[in-house]
């Protein structure tokens, strides 16, 4: 019994040594990878800050003003004016579509009034939009 135990312990020791060896190299690889990633992050950060600076440089107000002037024919941009404020009332809301009513539908009061109701609705809505336009 005892020799078997010795052999097993020995094999276990070898296995553990092998595992430790592998782990060691895996750790080193991971560390190297982290270093590479960090330097990449540093590069990207630098690029980011350069691009931010460039964005700020390209969007500096006097350049935009100049460009707005140069491209006035196409864009027609002017400085903001107090008169450009609007109210919700000035927004042209789209005319709601009235679903077509097909065939007489059964209502409680009877069927005769159906067509009139649809016409009434359309009229009321048209009147509403007309007033809204004011």
């Amino acid at each position: 019994m005892r020799p078997v135990l010795y052999v097993l312990t020995f094999l276990g020791l070898i296995a553990l040594g092998f595992w430790a060896y592998r782990e060691n190299y895996a750790t080193q690889t991971a560390l190297r990878e982290v270093r590479a990633l960090q330097s990449e992050i540093a590069d990207l950060r630098e690029a980011l800050s350069v691009q931010r600076a460039e964005w700020a440089y390209l969007n500096r107000p006097d350049r935009l003003r100049e460009l707005a002037g140069v491209n006035f024919d196409r864009l027609g941009l002017l400085p903001m004016e107090p008169g450009q404020f609007g109210t919700p009332a000035q927004v042209a809301f789209p005319v709601p579509e009235i679903p077509a009513i097909e065939g007489p539908s059964d209502t409680i009061g009877g069927v005769t009034a159906v067509e009139d109701t649809a016409a009434d609705q359309a009229e009321a809505i048209a009147a509403g939009t007309a007033e809204e336009g004011l």
Binding site: V34, E46, E54, P61, A89, E132, L134
Partner: protein, 596 residues
Amino acid sequence: MRTPLRPLARILRARDTGENPDLIERENLARRHEAISDRQHARAAARLGLLALAFGAFYLTIGIRMGHLAASEPMEPVASAPGAEIVAQRADITDRNGRILATNMTTHALYAHPADMVDPKGTASQLAEIFPELDAAQLERRFTDGRKFVWIRKVLSPEQVQKVHEIGDPGLLFGPREMRLYPNGTLAAHVLGGYAFGAEGVHSAEVIGTAGIEKAMDARLRDPAQGGTPLALSIDLSVQATVEEVLSAGITMLNARGGAAIIMDVNTGEIIAMASAPTFDPNDRPVPLVSKDAEPSDSPLFNRAVQGVYELGSTFKIFAAAQAMELGLVNPDTMVDANAPMIWGKHKIKEFEGKNYGPLLSVTDVIAKSSNVGTAHIALMIGPLRQQAFLKSLGFFEPTPLELVEAPGAKPLIPRKWPEIVTITTSYGHGMSASPMHLAAAYAAIANGGIYLKPTLLKQDGPAKGVRVLSESVAAEAVRMLRGVVTHGTASLAEVPGYEVAGKTGTADKPKKSGGYYKDKVINTFASVFPASDPRYVVLVTLDEPVDTSGPKPKRTAGWTSVPVAAEMIRRVAPILGLRPKVELAQDSTLTAAQN
């Protein structure tokens, strides 16, 4: 084995010999106690030893760790906070909406090791070709006179780096450099200030602020713990750009030597825009003037808004009126003596162009017509001591607490003695001098309902706390008076439809260096608040030696110079600030009816 305390054999023997057997018992008892105490002593010693061992191990661990930390090379932590140490050293500066005003850029510095140079002469001439400001002969002399190290240039552009690489001399070396970049050029130059390199090494250089907020907030900007968080200013980039555009257009049109403009939020004390013209490019900061005759205001570096300490003229009149109302001496309709000219001792106080608005004028009209005599009489009611205390509470006796390195140096000029004639002249803004920033802060106190707030250039989270200097009703009354100046007074050109501008003009003659005043050189100021019904912003425009030559006679009063500039500024800036013009909205009710 436990020994008995009274062994029978010895007791019997003792009895035989006539000794006291109790002694034997006591002896044995003593021996037993001794043994017990020996045992306890040993145990305590063992425990102490163990404790000493534990402490020893503890201190040894700490000692080894400390020694290790001290002796080992510092290494960036591998797993924690990736990239935190890579962040640029000096914090960015942004406007209130996060748009960049100042940032850093990595470039290169060029230096040389002449000992390693293959061809000093050729290198020198090629370098002089790339950099026109370098002198080939001088460079060559420096390369060949035996020194081991030569700085050539502090900052290079990428193209220049490439060109230097193409020379290919091994003696030319590059060092990384972090430089400050102001992408908006001249925009807000006086706020930002400028930078310079401090201690310089081959591998890095210190970037330090030299003026403006860069210097005033240098410690905060260089704090490594806050390097990643930009410093947010209260400045709004779009507003600032508009203000600068309008101001410079106004200066050109009115042939002024310079000017300044301030827009301040009355509820927080934040400076939304601050401009001074002429201006400069902080990326390429000009050298300060050194000649003795030069006035500081001749330099573009001079910040007129903060450093321009001048007599501010009639803009002061509202303070006298407001204080008199606060003290209950007058109300807006009280008639005061305004019979010009007023004789006070050997002094004669006159109105503009020798007019006479008298004999009596209501306080509202004193302000609207800008009557010197009327204001003088109001000031005399207040008296010198109370007048001084009030102006002090409005911050006129101290430099502004603005976060600019120039601010503490711009002390207001206060007369040393304060006789009644000074009370009179100060009431209409002569005799004491302050900067436009002082005036803007004081007007903000009137506009926000009577609370003096410290002006600041840093973005604030909410309404600031200040000191109450006027009651709310008096402040509202004062704003109404200022509104009167625009609707039927000296600043009629300030009317911007929908924005209810209220303000006061001020025209002050420029003092001569030799004493006395120039006849035809003036400083024109227009201090205004808008909208008058619920004041949100103070707009202040001051122009140096403006003249309106559109009419047959040159006009030099603020009403014709600063006022139209300020009006145009408000018209352009108010929409950017999100303020709607106030107009009557018609057919509101019919609309709601039609919706249903």
